[in-house]
Symmetry: C2
Subunit: 189 residues, 2 copies
């Protein structure tokens, strides 16, 4: 689910304690921590904010890769790989598979881990797996205007929604030319 | 920083809105979401809870691996690789390096990504990098009772604090015997 992407990229600061509702103060907690946190002066709850994982797949049928045209902001109308925020109680691969089902309604087999992309300035880590499509029929969810297969030559590079996606696709095609897929860990700044 | 490990593993449910302090209700939001979230009936803030990343290193000097004896609960007195919760504004590798400095006071060069371990039932993803120690002198922080180098034969397997660590170490030594390090993605259930 990428619908809350913008909200989470610009997550507003915690103003009230999630335990008791009191107004928080920002300070370094007393437990040896070194960073400012939202601390509750009433019940002493410390509110941590940590990076979020976005998980998805590179779904492939023969020579073609599946992209989804976004039906939601941000980047409405742009193309993306199926991906979204990892949820509690799932593995990275389970989250990637869930998103592929939700956004593309694709039938597929999960493949190997492919890329881990840090976007430190928005507090996100994006992770993609390869996936083998079992059909060229899709049933996209409400977040997707259209799910379509593209050959490398047809990829709409100027219409890709996110750099995590275009940089992952570039590495995928480069690996495919060599006949050997490796795992790519890189940063987007 | 692993001091809040227990707190986060058993993170209490959100009771109040972090924006306005009103009592939240648990329901499926109206935006197409499919999961129950803590929703504020007053200001409509939706509170997401997502998995946390724990990042660390396998610091190696020649044949020996650095382990840290924990000075904090949980698993006080047990041995671990230096690791802790990833923070905002850092990459996975930067977080792993920071934890190695904080917990062991080690001098080292970061190496390649080594393992990604899902622990879905506690909502965590643990990631380890290899690291090359530049010295056998350490300056452990307050979370560490002792930082010590172990050969494979001396690893206190029954005194390792976390399965993510013992399973990562096993794979590290297995790879080292083959002379080829790969990336390991696996689950702990």
């Amino acid at each position: 689910m990428l619908s809350n992407y913008t909200a989470l990229m610009h997550r507003p600061p915690t103003k009230h304690c999630r335990n008791c509702g009191s107004a928080v103060v920002y300070r370094i907690p007393d437990d040896g921590d070194t960073k400012q946190r939202a601390v509750c002066p009433a019940c002493h709850t410390v509110h941590y904010e940590n990076p979020l994982n976005v998980v998805g797949t590179i779904p492939v049928l023969g020579e073609r890769v599946l992209l989804c045209k976004r039906n939601i902001e941000p980047r409405l109308g742009k193309w993306t790989l199926p991906a979204g925020f990892m949820e509690l109680q799932e593995t990275v691969a389970q989250g990637a598979a869930r998103e592929t089902l939700e956004e593309a309604g694709a039938q597929f087999e999960m493949g190997d881990f492919f890329s881990l992309v840090n976007i430190a300035h928005v507090g996100q880590v994006h992770m993609f797996f390869r996936a083998r499509l079992l059909s060229d029929q899709f049933d996209p969810g409400y977040e997707t205007l259209e799910a379509r297969l593209f050959t490398e030559d047809d990829i709409p590079w100027n219409e890709i929604a996110f750099r995590t996606v275009s940089e992952t696709l570039k590495r995928y095609f480069a690996d495919r030319r060599t006949g050997h897929f490796s795992i790519h860990v890189f940063d987007i700044t």
